[in-house]
Symmetry: C2
Subunit: 271 residues, 2 copies
């Protein structure tokens, strides 16, 4: 079992914390804050793998990070290295598929791209729209609002609806749970519930806090209260995790293989 996830977001958006929280594993190592300020030129692509256990299944998770995205003063074309990486992985698969001996094809294609959205409260920024327009036909796009504790529940509702309006206006395809009418009603309800929360607004934390009632929770401790990552009243983390790691992982891989890869392959063979 393997799964390759790409994560894109500006420095400080909460990317490392979110990935470590999602998989309960220090996938991203601790930051050395003294090197953060070094102005990188452009985007790097760096890959980290971890063996994790999910639902009793051992999974080789690869997270492809994209440090430098959106961090420069001039971010023209900062999606270019990311698009090239996704396409080169399709090409590598195509090469393997064309071999005589195909018994050992390794699938390193990007199965999902989590695109992190800053919780400004307004709407998508120019860079968000540009990026998603260029990626949505190549990869399963999962936009996620990070640090959603920045916004109150009312602000989130407005923010999410403006994001969805922007996404529809620009004809951007994002990954959405779908269902057939003949499916189990419980599955249908779960999918409808997930769909109603998209884009997910999440909070991440690498700290365990002890609550006044003695419970220990993953969260963030403030003078005014404790934010709980796994409290569904506080944010959509549980839903994102469930969709990504549990209910929709196979679908993400299927769509990558049977639609996104096939489209890339036909375009490539035609030209």
């Amino acid at each position: 079992f393997n799964f390759t996830l790409m994560v894109v977001g500006e420095a400080g958006i909460g990317k490392s914390t979110l990935i470590n929280t999602l998989f309960n594993t220090r996938v991203f190592p601790d930051k050395d804050e003294s090197t953060i300020g070094e102005t990188r030129r452009g985007v790097e692509i760096s890959s980290m793998s971890a063996e994790i256990q999910e639902n009793g299944v051992r999974l080789r998770l690869t997270v492809v990070d994209t440090p430098g995205f959106g961090d420069s003063i001039n971010n023209d074309d900062c999606w270019q290295p990311i698009l090239e990486n996704i396409e080169s992985r399709f090409d590598a698969y195509l090469t393997q598929e064309n071999r005589v001996n195909r018994s050992k094809i390794s699938d390193n294609r990007i199965h999902a791209l989590i695109y992190l959205i800053k919780p400004t409260g307004h709407a998508l920024r120019a860079i968000d729209i540009e990026f998603m327009k260029r990626m949505h036909t190549k990869v399963n796009l999962i936009p996620v609002i990070t640090k959603s504790d920045t916004l109150t529940q009312d602000e989130l509702v407005g923010f999410k609806s403006r994001i969805i309006a922007d996404i529809n206006y620009h004809g951007i395809q994002i990954f959405k749970p779908q269902w057939e009418s003949f499916e189990d009603p419980e599955v249908i309800n779960e999918n409808k519930d997930m769909l109603s929360k998209i884009p997910f607004a999440v909070i991440g934390s690498d700290k365990i806090i002890e609550k006044p009632d003695g419970n220990r929770v993953r969260g963030r401790l403030y003078p005014w209260g404790i934010i709980e990552v796994e409290n569904e009243k506080h944010n959509d983390f549980i839903k994102l995790r469930k969709m990504l790691v549990c209910t929709h992982m196979e679908e993400l891989k299927d769509v990558t293989d049977s639609i996104l890869y096939e489209n890339h392959r036909s375009q490539k063979l035609v030209t």
Copy 2:
């Protein structure tokens, strides 16, 4: 009495809310969220004035906004229009000073520039450093971290110290409360206290929340607690307001007139 304040920060950073909260006045009108997404080209300069009452004194406050700063995909030179605006106000003053009849000089020079820093938790970004390096000899720079409720108290301490380290490393001059050893010990302590909190980390809100104990406070209501803008345990808003509007307004105008303007004037007359 007049005071001209320039505010610089990317869309969504909390600028309008902060200014309205600082002066308890709707200086910035309600946003029409439907127009926010329009990708502006470059930076605009727009000015709003309000008559406000502070410490029983009537004050004509002018806030110069800089929408578009940092919002494009390519932000090269986005400081240029801002620098030109500051300098053209110096030039306008110089022109008036050189007139025969100088009884009616109107002072529209920028007395302080609040530069808003995103609460990423890491350090200053390239655009923050570039901007401040270009401005600090022309205007009183007051860097302020907005939406500081995004960061826990430990994270804030680390973040502030890295920001100050960056500022010192790049030789950036920021406005700091100063004192003479002969001053009233209470004044000295107040100034030391303010200095220890710089850069101020603030929270803004245009909502009044009723607390469980019946008190009504300006704040933000979350499922996990109520953040209070005017609670000094929650953020530095009270300190920023005091420094800007009460204890250091005269000093900000003096430094502008006797140091920043004079430097600009001598450079101008030499060339």
